[in-house]
Symmetry: C2
Subunit: 202 residues, 2 copies
């Protein structure tokens, strides 16, 4: 069977269903579950995973061939990583509001226009996290307002420089690599974006 | 400061250091930590994260413009997802051995040649997981041997078809999108791969 034919087919033969939902551990950030689950053949197993509020990543454009990028310490990795700006959704927060907020908080920039590229799911084996991918352009610099306990560097970078950093392994952050995938396809005209004006904010 | 200048600079002003390492919860798969951490300004916080054994993804090539792809139920997502074959490293397992094993177990294929593209880090805010990215070519079909409790569909797909599925949002799995980034850059000659013969396996 090929892909196009497959997309229309039923997935019932793959489906796993919850028998018992169980909270395993709850921290101030991580919400860990360990559900008892029925597999397609009727056997049972446990599925351990994180429930996540979702996040937004911003690809901030300075013209068509330069962007804003950050460097931030990532404790689980034990080092600083190069990344596009990103942040978690607050409860009930509209996605674009979150994107506008995170871009300003972390970099100081405000954008005249925004475009939604898509969504990515970064750890489908053990997290329900989705990261919305938004592009921002028409950037006006301003004062950043980092959260308490937040420390990060902000840089300008050429897209060619970032592509080379991805090839060489300097950039390994998944969301950022997918930002570069969207950048390459948007710049070549293959994956067009639909721009909207930024809503006025107080 | 621009990116190239920044890569050589010190990151001590961003560094977070462990004060006390603490296990929060241990399941059969997830190993959850909640460390007490010192921030760069000397203040303290908690960092909650998963310790992960690491994984391998395989981009299995049928010629230059067709690949093998899977559809698998992902319980945290509540649905089946399109993905390149992938699997977790077993303790002490060499990465290429894991790639050869997972490709055969999940799809039945054995590859004549392999090439390492790079590594991606998919959840740097709350996991140390790294996914090695390997390409496989010279595929010979055979019998797959799924693990107990593993159910998945295997398809052939054109690279153009997959690119369109990524653009339209049919493919949202991060590792798979990054496989498509590598595929596009390899096919265009921008990101060359160095191929090695597969080691003979018993």
């Amino acid at each position: 069977m090929d892909l196009t034919a497959s997309l229309g087919t039923d997935t019932a033969h793959l489906r796993e269903t919850c028998i018992e939902a169980r909270t395993a551990w709850r921290g101030s950030f991580l919400d860990v579950r360990s559900d008892r689950v029925a597999l397609p053949d009727g056997s049972e197993t446990n599925r351990e995973y994180i429930v996540h509020p979702g996040a937004v990543m911003i690809v901030p454009l300075l013209g068509e061939d330069r962007v804003i990028i950050e460097r931030q310490w990532r404790y689980p990795m034990g080092r600083a990583m190069l990344e596009f700006p990103a942040g978690k959704l607050e409860p009930g927060e509209p996605v674009l509001d979150c994107a506008v907020r995170e871009l300003t908080e972390e970099t100081g920039y405000r954008a005249a226009e925004w475009a939604r590229a898509g969504i990515l799911h970064n750890a489908i084996g053990y997290s329900d996290e989705g990261i919305e991918i938004w592009f921002a352009r028409g950037l006006a610099p301003g004062q950043r307002r980092l959260d308490a306990g937040e420390f990060l560097d902000v840089f300008e970078a050429g897209v060619d420089e970032l592509d080379e950093a991805a090839r060489s392994g300097e950039i390994t952050d998944a969301k950022t690599l997918i930002g570069l995938l969207w950048l390459a396809n948007w710049r070549s005209g293959r994956w067009p974006l639909k721009w909207v004006g930024a809503a006025p904010t107080s």
